[in-house]
């Protein structure tokens, strides 16, 4: 489309100005499109933070804005992980919060006081505009055609693969991280092309910013060394490579170590060793090249090659030795599960339990990157055709990112930029070929226009036939316009597809659930906020809430109450404790809850409404995680029927029926229905006639659609009885049960 700027009347000095203006207008339009396509959820619903993680980022940002930077840096949060607390300053990536805090203060200095919530909501759309611009710069470094950059910018602006993580209200680390990723790569390409220490240092600075923003910086710190290593292996080592890489590594590593969460990791952990190894390798090669320039001997050179290989293998061996002996930390579980895809499911159920950590299915690629995904391999092929230093980067990036995005759904995000870039390169090549109306300066020109495609050596008067160069190619207006028209059609369909996907799939806030009534009007189910608001207004300021870890951040953010576990899963045992309390019988759970000073227990139950993401469906993960710590007390097998089915109806096992989670979910649920017709709409099961009985906790609040149920943990009995005994006495049961033994105290509370 932008190739229109190449028209003949746009040449010359005046033409350059016109082109510059057009370019500016197009870029502004792209930024506007990128921003406005992300606003569906704000316009349809309201300007709120969406998912689970962003609620913590939002809370931390509020803390930063309220208390200043130094307090934020040393923030000890005593309202999460209740008995333990969390050293927040040292366990988060502060880039996102600091960015929005800076924007907040900048706007305030401009006398535009904007609420911090609105800044947080709209940060991701704003940065997506910047991402489009960074992609433009990056692609311009790759391709000589002027249109490729603009095409890549618009692809990046509206591609659903990126929109999915950056709609308005999704205040997550990826919101700014993708911009930083692309911009760091742009600076790196610039540095390696020019061999400039200045660009290398800039690249290191933005790399440091990226480290402060997202844990995915590991991708950069492995990709750039890999690029350099491939260049060296191809025999393309030059002093430009040395200057740019060494500047980047020396400054970038120091910059990354400034973040408390990263600390000494760049020295100690395996993920960063490739960068260090390539740094050492470059020193050796640089030295060898230096000596070689002084001594002109063939044998000497070969011997030096041997020397390089020897030193490299020694360094590698030393690295392996150090890793095996445990001096350098091995790969972390999250990272390791990328290589051994079965690892997480067996050893760390908490990693496998997150839905984003699953392998990607084929339709996801077409869904997220409509026509880009089939232009992508062609773009990589184009890069192979003219393989300069920066094209090698594209190839390396493509291969690596395609593998990772195939292994894990959420890593589709890192694939999207390179797909946009390569697809734009292909498309601009096609358009450049078929949009130029110039026919070759040949006498065959007049004939070629009316003839069909691929005309060669048309007989004309004058000159010997063998002396003329045959004109090969497609020169008719018809064929050219057909191809261009088809491409334009594809592009238009791409825009439609992106808008449709964004509107339908990625723009729903998970806090409010929207449903359509038969007459087409919208019905909003707002149970989450209803229940959180109840907690906020009707409980003590420091009432501890126990829930599964998914809702930890939201409770902290919306209800403003201390929680036991949250989405930052740094202490697996603590999560397993909650899992055990949820999956054990009341007699076992009550002491656990007393020990942790739990005041309220919150469960999510979708049985009435058919909301499938509720706690009964997540229950097996609780059991598995608890079983990982207490294998003899919680057994997954006990929750299945003898035929191995997971049931909640009358066939459910006793362990299932006695578990706290089951009781809390179905407590009093029978009363909603006529007798004998209680129905669970998610599991599609008919519930037993007699509902569960709760002894040690009591119902405190149930939201309108029964999605959130909150229970209050009872105090100790006045007379010192067990709660079960006291309750059965209240109910008038005559026979007194034998004293139950108290739940095993396996928990160590610090």
């Amino acid at each position: 489309m932008t190739v229109a700027t190449e028209n003949s009347y746009l040449k010359g000095a005046k033409g350059r100005n016109t082109r510059g203006l057009l370019r500016l207008v197009i870029l502004c339009t792209i930024a506007a499109a990128a921003v406005s396509s992300r606003l569906f959820s704000v316009i349809r619903f309201e300007s709120i933070i969406h998912e689970f993680d962003p609620w913590f980022n939002f809370r931390a940002t509020k803390y930063l804005v309220a208390n200043g930077f130094y307090d934020f840096w040393d923030w000890f949060d005593d309202r999460t992980w209740h008995p333990l607390g969390r050293v927040t300053g040292g366990t988060l990536y502060p880039g996102l919060m600091v960015t929005s805090g800076a924007i907040y203060h900048a706007l305030k200095a401009l006398t535009l006081p904007v609420d911090i919530r609105n800044i947080c909501v709209l940060l991701a759309p704003a940065f997506s505009g910047l991402t489009a611009f960074a992609t433009y710069l990056f692609t311009n470094e790759m391709s000589t055609t002027p249109s490729a950059g603009l095409l890549a910018a618009i692809f990046m602006g509206i591609a659903p693969g990126y929109i999915s993580r950056s709609v308005a209200g999704s205040y997550d680390n990826e919101a700014i991280a993708i911009f930083l990723l692309v911009f760091t790569f742009y600076l790196w390409i610039k540095a390696i092309k020019l061999g400039s220490a200045f660009w290398g240092a800039l690249c290191a600075l933005f790399y440091g910013y990226m480290v402060s923003a997202w844990g995915g910086y590991v991708f950069i710190t492995n990709l750039i060394p890999l690029h350099v290593f491939v260049l060296v292996c191809m025999g393309r080592f030059s002093s430009r490579v040395y200057v740019s890489y060494c500047t980047w590594y020396a400054l970038g590593t120091l910059a990354s170590m400034q973040i408390p969460f990263v600390g000494f990791l760049p020295i100690r952990s395996s993920e960063h060793m490739s960068a260090l190894g390539v740094f050492g390798l470059l020193q050796l090669i640089g030295f060898v090249e230096f000596v070689r320039s002084g001594v002109p001997s063939k044998q000497f050179q070969t011997l030096l090659r041997g020397f390089v290989a020897l030193v490299f293998s020694i360094a590698l061996g030393g690295l392996v030795l150090l890793t095996v002996s445990g001096v350098i930390a091995p790969w972390t579980g999250r990272f390791y599960s990328l290589w051994d895809t079965g690892y997480a499911k067996i050893h760390i159920p908490i990693i496998a339990s997150v839905s984003e950590h699953q392998p990607t299915a084929w339709p996801a690629f077409f869904f997220d990157l409509n026509l880009l995904i089939w232009l992508f391999p062609a773009g990589v092929y184009l890069c192979f055709l003219k393989l300069s230093d920066e094209q090698v980067f594209v190839v390396v990036y493509s291969i690596l990112a395609s593998y990772f995005s195939g292994v894990m759904v959420r890593l589709m995000l890192t694939l999207t930029p390179i797909v946009c870039v390569t697809a734009a390169m292909v498309l601009s090549t096609i358009l450049e070929t078929y949009l130029s109306m110039k026919s070759p300066k040949s006498d065959a020109e007049s004939v070629a226009i009316e003839a069909a495609a691929s005309k060669k050596n048309v007989p004309t008067k004058g000159g010997l036939r063998s002396m003329r160069n045959p004109v090969v190619g497609i020169y008719t207006i018809v064929s050219k316009s057909t191809v261009v028209g088809a491409m334009t059609l594809y592009l238009l369909v791409f825009v439609l597809h992106c808008t449709w996907v964004t509107s339908n799939a990625y723009s729903s806030p998970s806090v409010v659930l929207a449903s359509k009534l038969p007459d087409g009007s919208q019905h909003i189910i707002d149970d989450y906020r209803e229940a959180y608001q109840w907690l906020r207004q009707n409980t003590k300021e420091d009432a501890k809430i126990m829930s599964w870890w998914d809702y930890g951040y939201q409770i902290g953010g919306m209800a403003d109450r201390p929680t036991l576990v949250d989405n930052n899963t740094w202490n697996n045992t603590h999560i397993a404790t909650v899992g055990k309390a949820m999956s054990s019988s009341e007699e076992v759970s009550y002491p656990i809850m007393r020990q942790h000073e739990v005041d309220y227990v919150l469960v999510v139950f979708g049985g009435l409404l058919g909301y499938s993401g509720d706690d009964i469906n997540k229950f097996l993960w609780m059991v598995r995680i608890a079983e990982g710590i207490w294998p003899e007390e919680v057994k997954e097998r006990d929750f299945f029927t003898p035929r191995g089915e997971y049931k909640v109806d009358h066939e459910a096992t006793d362990t299932m029926k006695n578990s706290l989670m089951y009781k809390m979910s179905y407590y009093n649920y029978n009363g909603l229905f006529p007798p004998g017709q209680a129905q669970d709409r998610v599991r599609g099961a008919k519930l037993p006639d007699v509902g569960p009985v709760l002894n040690s906790i009591e119902e405190a609040y149930t939201s309108e659609n029964w999605i959130i149920r909150i229970y209050k943990v009872k105090d100790l009995d006045n007379v010192g009885r067990e709660h079960g005994a006291a309750a059965s006495f209240e109910r008038g049961n005559k026979k007194k049960k034998a004293a139950k033994k108290r739940g095993p105290k396996v928990l160590r509370v610090e």
């Binding site: 240092a201 002093s239 120091l254 400034q258 000596v291 001096v327």
Partner: protein, 153 residues
């Protein structure tokens, strides 16, 4: 502790060699060239080293020699720090890291300056004048020192 040792193995050993070639102490390259030449069977190790040294002193401009002396100094400082760390231990690890990486980073930046200002590399860096290279060097060093001072606490 040994992570550092690994870092040392990989990184600053070339500095040692490099400075060796540029300063009279000359350990590694002399040995290297000696082995190679003895394989050829032509010259002895000392002759090669002397020839290289003569070639270096004659062919290298004064400014580049100055840079080389600075690089040799950085190598000495880095090795001293590392030896001290090996002897005494690495308790304030960030202090050791910032001091050591200051020398490594400064060495690398200086090497970049040397490469960029070298007249023989004119074709490689056609867009970078020596003055620009020096400005880049100052920029990089300022960043480096800011980070090091910040990291040493």
């Amino acid at each position: 502790m040994a992570a550092k040792r690994n870092a040392r193995d990989v990184t600053p050993s070339p500095p040692v060699n490099k400075s060796g070639s540029s300063t009279p102490t000359t350990p590694a390259p002399a040995v290297k060239s000696a082995t190679s030449k003895s394989k050829d069977g032509n010259l002895s190790a000392q002759e090669v080293a002397v020839a290289m040294w003569d070639n270096y002193t004659k062919a290298t401009p004064q400014r580049t020699k100055l840079i080389d002396v600075f690089m040799a100094f950085l190598v000495v400082v880095g090795v001293l720090q590392f030896v001290y760390c090996v002897i005494v231990g690495n308790y304030p690890f960030n202090a050791f890291l910032s001091g050591f990486s200051a020398t490594v980073g400064q060495f690398v930046l200086t090497a970049s300056l040397r490469i960029q200002t070298n007249a023989a590399n004119k074709a490689e860096f056609e867009s970078i004048s020596p003055e620009r290279a020096f400005a880049d060097y100052v920029f990089g060093s300022l960043i480096l020192h800011f980070f090091c001072v910040n990291f040493i606490n």
